[in-house]
């Protein structure tokens, strides 16, 4: 059995009587992008902070690359690049100086790596602008540069696209995909932006009120939430015969006596309607439906959806 990049076992965080993370078990495979999806305050940042030991664990365990974090924390940290909540840098220093400082602390100082990291995130090398004068997007880019500068095996990124413009978001998405696909980096990313997670992650964990509700692969979720045609007729059994014989439609499911869901792509709605009417079947409803990840998210969290 392959060693997981990150594995948590019953990870729990309590502040007095309030439980903010409750027995969370996440399984991040090596080399994949794992998206932690949840509304604001769901517990995403707390999970990441517990993984990084920035906050204490009330109960449970974290294993990174097979090693329990409490046993070898120092050696493990050097294999992780992270960004948690707002980027923390020294306002009186430039972006390059900030990167130099953190590289020095890591003991991995090299001019080329700073230059390369800044170029990767689209920031100028040796710019005179201090961090205090950076826009939110620039600050976020610098934080990503700092997370990748030491070529870590794993990236833990909490809301990394916050403050980025649409082009910046697309660039960041491509960068993370590239780092995962080409360099085999394991990425744990959290976001409340559902569309981003669905475009980026291989596996998705949905967290709500500190509880991990679902942990599924993107393909499983796609399958579960794929597009379909909803058909309401006088008799679903008779209609199924017509669909198979006359319209060559076989990928469908009969929901009840009157309702059918057709999953087969590129079918002609007009032809279906015509064939059923000519066979004497009353068509009450015929419409294309898109059961999106958002619908699924709303369904399982019982909420009104997220951005």
């Amino acid at each position: 059995m392959a060693v997981l990049g990150i594995e948590t076992h019953d990870l729990t965080k309590r502040y007095r009587s309030q439980t903010v993370v409750d027995k969370v078990n996440i399984h991040v495979k090596q080399g994949e992008i794992y998206g932690l999806l949840g509304r604001n305050g769901a517990g995403k940042s707390t999970i990441m902070k517990m993984i990084l030991r920035l906050t204490g664990i009330t109960h449970g365990e974290v294993a990174i690359l097979g090693d329990k974090l409490n046993k070898h924390p120092k050696s493990l940290y050097s294999r992780i690049g992270s960004l948690i909540e707002t980027p923390g840098f020294y306002p009186n220093l430039t972006g390059t100086e900030n990167l130099l400082l953190f590289s020095k602390l890591r003991g991995t100082i090299s001019k080329n790596t700073e230059k390369k990291a800044l170029e990767t995130v689209g920031l100028p090398y040796k710019d005179n602008k201090t961090f205090a004068k950076y826009s939110l997007g620039m600050k976020q880019r610098l934080a990503i540069a700092n997370a990748i500068i030491h070529d870590p095996e794993m990236l833990i990124l909490d809301e990394p696209i916050n403050g980025l413009d649409p082009i910046g978001i697309a660039e960041m998405r491509e960068l993370l995909k590239r780092l995962s696909a080409e360099q085999g980096k394991t990425v744990l990313i959290s976001s409340h932006i559902l569309s981003e997670i669905s475009m980026l992650a291989n596996n998705i964990g949905i967290i709500h009120n500190g509880v991990l509700l679902v942990e599924k692969s993107q393909s499983e979720l796609e399958k579960q939430n794929k597009k379909y045609i909803f058909l309401s007729v006088s008799s679903s059994s008779k209609a199924s015969n017509i669909l198979e014989r006359q319209c060559s439609i076989y990928d469908y499911s009969i929901e009840n006596d009157t309702d059918i869901r057709i999953y087969q792509p590129d079918v002609d709605l007009g032809e279906i309607n015509r064939s059923l009417v000519m066979a004497g079947i009353t068509v009450k409803k015929l419409q294309e439906c898109n059961n999106s990840l958002e619908d699924y998210f709303k369904k399982i969290t019982g909420g009104v959806g997220i951005a």
């Binding site: 980027p87 100086e97 602390l105």
Partner: protein, 258 residues
């Protein structure tokens, strides 16, 4: 550890540390000038009396200056969210704390060195007597030892700074209260007697060490009394407080949520 210390200096670039130093030096020089007797009062100014009188004020001000500096450098790490970044590198709580103490100590040495230079210049310009190479050398040596002991004596305040995180007011209040305790009788610079309180308070330890040094160096010239408290025991007590409060500060840093 060396990387952590040199990173501390990198953080000072374009910061207000230099301005802070200039302002502090101006205050220190002002103190020296304020205790300078006018030519009408005395025929000849004594260099050692000038040193002794100025130092009483300087030590008080130096404690406040170092307290403010330490508060600034600690709270800025919390305010800028850099402490979280540092701990994921990982910089250990121990490295973090000792690098900060080291910066405060270096700043303390530079300031007290500046004070000794300033005092020598004022003494030279005003034509003070007793400006022998030995006396000037001893003034520099005592200033250096005071710089180190004062920076160690403020370590208990660091615990308040760490617990307060980015709150500025509580540590500053603690610095002021802590500094003013030196004015208590039997404690620090004002009256030293063989009292238990001189041992159980880091500032008391610092005061006894200072007064013993001054007595041993200049007792033939200055009218100073030998402290009854044992300076060796004070050094042991100061080391004990340093270790206890350093350990407590490291534990507080480790226990904190970032």
């Amino acid at each position: 550890m060396l990387n952590t210390i040199s990173a501390e200096w990198m953080k000072c670039k374009r910061g207000k540390l230099f301005l802070f130093f200039i302002i502090a030096m101006a205050i220190y020089t002002g103190c020296i000038l304020s205790v300078l007797p006018s030519p009408k009062q005395v025929l000849q100014i004594s260099f050692l009396e000038l040193f002794s009188d100025a130092l009483t004020f300087i030590i008080l001000i130096h404690l406040i200056v170092l307290g403010l500096l330490a508060t600034t450098i600690f709270s800025s790490e919390y305010r800028n969210n850099t402490i979280r970044q540092l701990f994921t590198i990982p910089v250990s709580a121990k490295q973090f704390l000792f690098a900060k103490i080291f910066v405060v100590m270096i700043f303390s040495i530079l300031l007290m060195f500046g004070f000794a230079v300033s005092l020598t210049l004022v003494g030279f310009i005003s034509g003070a007597v007793e400006m022998t190479a030995h006396n000037v050398g001893m003034v520099f040596a005592i200033s250096l030892i005071d710089a180190i002991t004062i920076s160690i004596a403020i370590i208990p305040i660091l615990l308040v700074m760490i617990v307060s995180k980015q709150n500025f007011m509580l540590p500053i209040l603690a610095v002021l209260i802590y500094t003013l305790t030196i004015l208590l009788p039997n404690m620090g610079m004002v009256t030293i007697s063989n009292d238990l309180i001189a041992y159980i308070f880091p500032l008391g330890n610092m005061g006894i060490i200072h007064n013993t040094l001054v007595y041993n160096s200049f007792s033939t010239v200055l009218s100073v009394t030998m402290p009854t408290a044992d300076w060796r025991l004070c050094i042991i007590c100061l080391c004990f407080f340093t270790i206890v409060f350093s350990v407590l500060s490291v534990l507080a840093l480790k226990k904190q949520e970032h």
